[in-house]
């Protein structure tokens, strides 16, 4: 019954619908909603009506809110190298109702990070940070009890491991102890070379996906289109899904986390693929390739 309420809320889309479903005093409910935690830091009201994109100088695309050009939090002009990404960002801004929920605008956040580079990192630092996840890769850590989970891990994670070993000609084992598998240096070098071939924007997205899925193997499988986003998220949360199947799902925790992870991973994957698609065409226009 809760699910049908959620679905109806999505369709109707405004906070007023809660009036219909709450059996308690409806009037007070609405007033509570309108002043709940709306501080200047966390939420801003939607201050524009139309969102459009325009092509700026050098072939980059800008996003316009009403008449004003969108800027990054660092004050720079918000530009993206291709139209698809601009359309997607514009849709994110367009999808906001009454208040702006920045935590739901994942693509915008990624673009802002790529443009501003607030931590002032270069490509090599990002690659090193990403490769740190190889040693503690999710799919390499196996458990030896209960047997149903062991089977599940073997059936689901082994194929991905084999795939990546073939695709990149590397060796990654899996391990049952707390220290994890011994990853040979040649593997790390191969990955480093491969990551080097991505431009700065794609690398920003890829590092984001890796940190969300907690696995380099799954992220590369996703970006190389071997897995879909849903599959990658499922494999990343394999143990949790197993426990859910055994003990039941708690909507406000499990589903919430799963949808958030899916949204972020999808945004990251989209970001990587869109940024690297255009790299051969627009390389001159991007900051650090």
């Amino acid at each position: 019954m809760l699910r049908s309420i959620v679905r109806l809320q999505c369709q109707l889309g405004s906070s007023r619908t809660l009036l219909k479903y709450c059996s308690r005093d409806p009037a007070s409910n609405f007033s509570i909603q309108s002043n709940a935690y709306s501080s200047a830091i966390t939420e801003r009201r939607k201050f524009y009506k139309d969102v459009s994109i325009a092509q700026g100088e050098g072939g980059v695309y800008e996003v316009h809110l009403d008449r004003r050009k969108l800027k990054t939090p660092g004050g720079k002009l918000f530009t993206v190298p291709n139209e698809a990404l601009a359309v997607a960002v514009a849709t994110e801004w367009d999808a906001q109702k009454e208040t702006l929920k920045y935590y739901s605008m994942h693509l915008t956040t990624l673009c802002n990070t790529a443009i501003d580079n607030p931590t002032h990192r270069d490509k090599q630092q990002m690659i090193t940070a990403s490769l740190k996840f190889v040693e503690t890769d999710t799919v390499c850590y196996r458990i030896d009890d209960p047997p149903a989970l062991v089977e599940l891990q073997k059936n689901e994670w082994d194929p991905v491991l084999h795939w990546i070993e073939n695709r990149y000609n590397v060796e990654i084992g899996s391990s049952y102890n707390i220290l994890g598998p011994e990853i040979p240096a040649a593997t790390i070098d191969t990955f480093r070379q491969h990551l080097n071939s991505y431009n700065f924007w794609s690398l920003t997205g890829l590092e984001f996906v890796i940190s969300q899925l907690k696995s380099v193997v799954l992220s590369l499988a996703l970006v190389d289109r071997h897995l879909t986003v849903e599959e990658a998220v499922l494999l990343s949360r394999l143990e949790e899904e197993y426990q859910i199947e055994r003990w039941g799902s708690v909507e406000w925790c499990h589903d919430y986390d799963m949808y958030e992870l899916r949204a972020r991973t999808a945004a990251g994957a989209l970001f990587v693929q869109l940024s690297s698609e255009m790299s051969s065409v627009k390389r001159k226009l991007m900051q650090d390739c």
Partner: protein, 110 residues
Amino acid sequence: MSGLSPPLRVFRGLIKELRDIHGTTYKNTLAYNYVIDQFRKNGVTGERQCRARQEALHLSQAYLCLLRSTREHLALHKLYHGKGDRGLAEMASLVGLRLPSQPGGKGWEE
């Protein structure tokens, strides 16, 4: 590539999500026109094994996942985490009590 849905399903899902976001004017939006354009260019016929088509399909499925999961996440957030503090009268009514009304005002408020 094993989990790719048929293109028609992805297409219909995308249209539904965009309609959900924009309401009745969804046909004039950037995203809608872009999606229609891309699907038309890549030819949703399902016959040839074309690499560019597979890539475009994966991309569109990722975008569908993004739109769908953002919507579900926001809905769950609103349902479970968005309430904020209840007022005093609300809290009292939770346990079935009502605040007393004092016509002269409470003594300590002056």
